[in-house]
Amino acid sequence: MRAIWKYIWKRVLYVIPTLVGLSILIFILSRVLPGDPALMAAGPNAPKWVVEQIRHQLRLDKPLWEQYYYWLVDLFHGDLGYSTYTKRSVTADVIEYLPASLQLIFMAALFEIGGALALGIIAGRYAYRLPDNIVRVIAYIGISVPSFVWGLLFQLVFASLIPLFPTHGMYSYGTVPPPRVTGFSLIDALIAGQFDTFVDILWHMVLPAFALSLGAMAQDARIIRAGMVENTEKEHVSLVRAYGIPERVIFSKYILKPSLVPAVTVMGMDIASLLGNAFMVELIFQWPGFSRYGINVMLNKDINGIVAVVLVIGILFAIANIIVDVVVAYLDPRIGRRSQ
């Protein structure tokens, strides 16, 4: 057990230089790309002195290294800078919008993992037979159709034609949002003891989360299937079969476990990239989330917002990476031990 903590700690240490590098890169990029952020923020008809004032406020009149230095100092005080788009602190924006997105992504991740396992295992178990062919068609469609098309389709079918789910938003009309404690509306609803609200939010999340999860689900199902087909022909499977271990055990133990290792790696990355993919889905379902915020700051060249959004996505990837590393090390003992 101590070994695993050491392993996690090491992974965390590796992540720090990556994030510093990412912050420098995006910081410089956001400032050297064409388009004057101060001008964009002030608007086309603003007088020159207003533009200059904004430029000064954003520290754009200082050299690049100095800007980064102050940004870093502010970061350690929990301040991500001023957003020219929302006209307030970026930190406040992140706190407001990120939990809603994380909540959606978490549900999508559950769908993704569950669906990928189910589809992949069925396809692997009945490789080259009817269930496999059905899964292959599903996976093919799942990968090739973008998530926003799924979103629109689900809205049409499951919200409009068959009104099982709400079409958009986080709450039904008349539902009072729970008092904000963590920012995660689901958790806040539970804290406030509003169980009806909790269910209501979940209900609103099903369609967007499912639409969001399909692409990754299909891809991972295919990876699991491929792994199972490959491992079925391995010599170590012949060995356990030769010694009379029942097929059911061979499949669920000696074939499944090695097939999951590559899938877990891809799953982690897929889940992390959901935040980036969530934009269209959040837009269609009018989900008050971070991806929508991200697109808006980019369109408005809100430099502090852009840096914050990219960093948050980077941190999410880093966390996913660490989780993946730990799970893979748990599944495959060769990996964890070798790096110690």
Binding site: H236, V240, R241, A242, G244, I245, K257, R337
Partner: protein, 322 residues
């Protein structure tokens, strides 16, 4: 040696379905093992030795097709056995040692986990008894510190130790037949001798039926009662090991034995010209005829019948007809 027949393979034809068509590998293999007998199978790589061995336990790859033939184990056809009979055969009667211990042990499970599973399904024992049985087998396979090996992943063991683990698996329970499919081919030279000595002494000691598939002709010669020579999916010569090695009849066997490098020899053998045939379009008649120096017209037409040239020494070659 009693003459009770333990295993009898009759006219076995096995092919593999691939995207290039069907390869016709085994072309009528006949092989007999008596109770407590040690039988060698030799022949170059790709001659179908492993396919034959895997057919016995029905653990062929999923694209294999058994086209014809029978495999009798104590009079029962293995190929027609029901699930429970087959499991019983695999659990109690026949065990197999694989060619490459590294790929034969699942890398994600500890040696102990694999052994416990095997023992539990074979003997319905509790964990503790099963573990005792596993440790006993590991000790028999001359593994130092069986407890540690039991608790190790395969990657934490050396190649020689891994093969000893596989030997230990084959020793669990009282088997009637142990199939060793090139058990030393993938080991270091220094380890080869150790593992081979261990295996041969265990087989002798337990008086168990043994099929020893190997390219190490010297080891086969010293350690088996009878030997089968395989070429391109056919058994082309068989008989008491002493006779086959001292008086090889088939042109292929003669060439094969010539290929063994001798420490006293001045030059290397020239090898056998040509190569193992393409199984998608195997040669007609005797499959060795394109490489044979004494080829006759009839060799190209039909597969030669086996002839008993001297007592119990058979050869399937037209040179010995009449």
């Amino acid at each position: 040696m009693s003459k009770e027949v333990l295993l009898e393979i009759k006219n076995l034809h096995v092919g593999y379905k691939t995207h290039m068509g069907v390869s016709h590998v085994l072309n009528g293999v006949n092989l007999t093992v008596h109770k407590g007998e040690r039988v060698g199978v030799i022949g170059e790589s790709g001659s179908g030795k492993t396919t034959t061995m895997k057919s016995i336990l029905r653990i062929l790859p999923s694209n294999a097709i058994i086209k014809k033939g029978e495999i009798f184990y104590k009079g029962k056809n293995v190929l027609e056995m029901k699930e429970d009979e087959l499991l019983n055969l695999r659990r109690k009667k026949i065990s197999m040692i694989f060619q490459d211990p590294t790929s034969a042990l699942n890398p994600l499970f500890k040696v102990g986990q694999i052994m416990l599973d095997i023992i539990k399904y074979s003997y319905k024992l509790e964990d503790e008894e099963a573990k005792e049985m596993a440790l006993k087998a590991l000790k028999e396979a001359a593994l130092p510190d069986p407890e540690r090996v039991f608790d190790s992943y395969p990657f934490q063991l050396s190649g020689g130790m891994r093969q000893r683990v596989c030997i230990a698996l084959a020793l669990i329970g009282d088997r009637e037949l142990i199939i060793a499919d090139e058990p030393t081919t993938n080991l270091d030279v220094t380890i080869k001798a150790q593992v081979l000595n261990l295996l041969t002494s265990l087989v002798r000691e337990k008086n168990v039926g043994w099929i020893f598939v190997s390219q190490a002709l010297g080891a086969v010669r010293e350690n088996v009662d009878r030997v089968y020579v395989m070429y391109a999916g056919n058994i082309i010569e068989w008989g008491p090991s002493r006779k086959v090695f001292s008086n090889p009849l088939h042109p292929y066997t003669q060439k094969l034995l010539e290929c063994v490098p001798k420490l006293t020899g001045k030059e290397f053998s020239k090898g056998i010209r040509g190569r193992i045939p393409n199984y998608f379009k195997p040669p007609s008649g005797c499959r060795f005829h394109p490489r044979c120096d004494y080829v006759l017209d009839e060799c190209k037409k039909s597969v030669p019948e086996a002839v008993e040239v001297e007592h119990e020494h058979f050869v399937a070659c037209n040179l010995y007809r009449r």
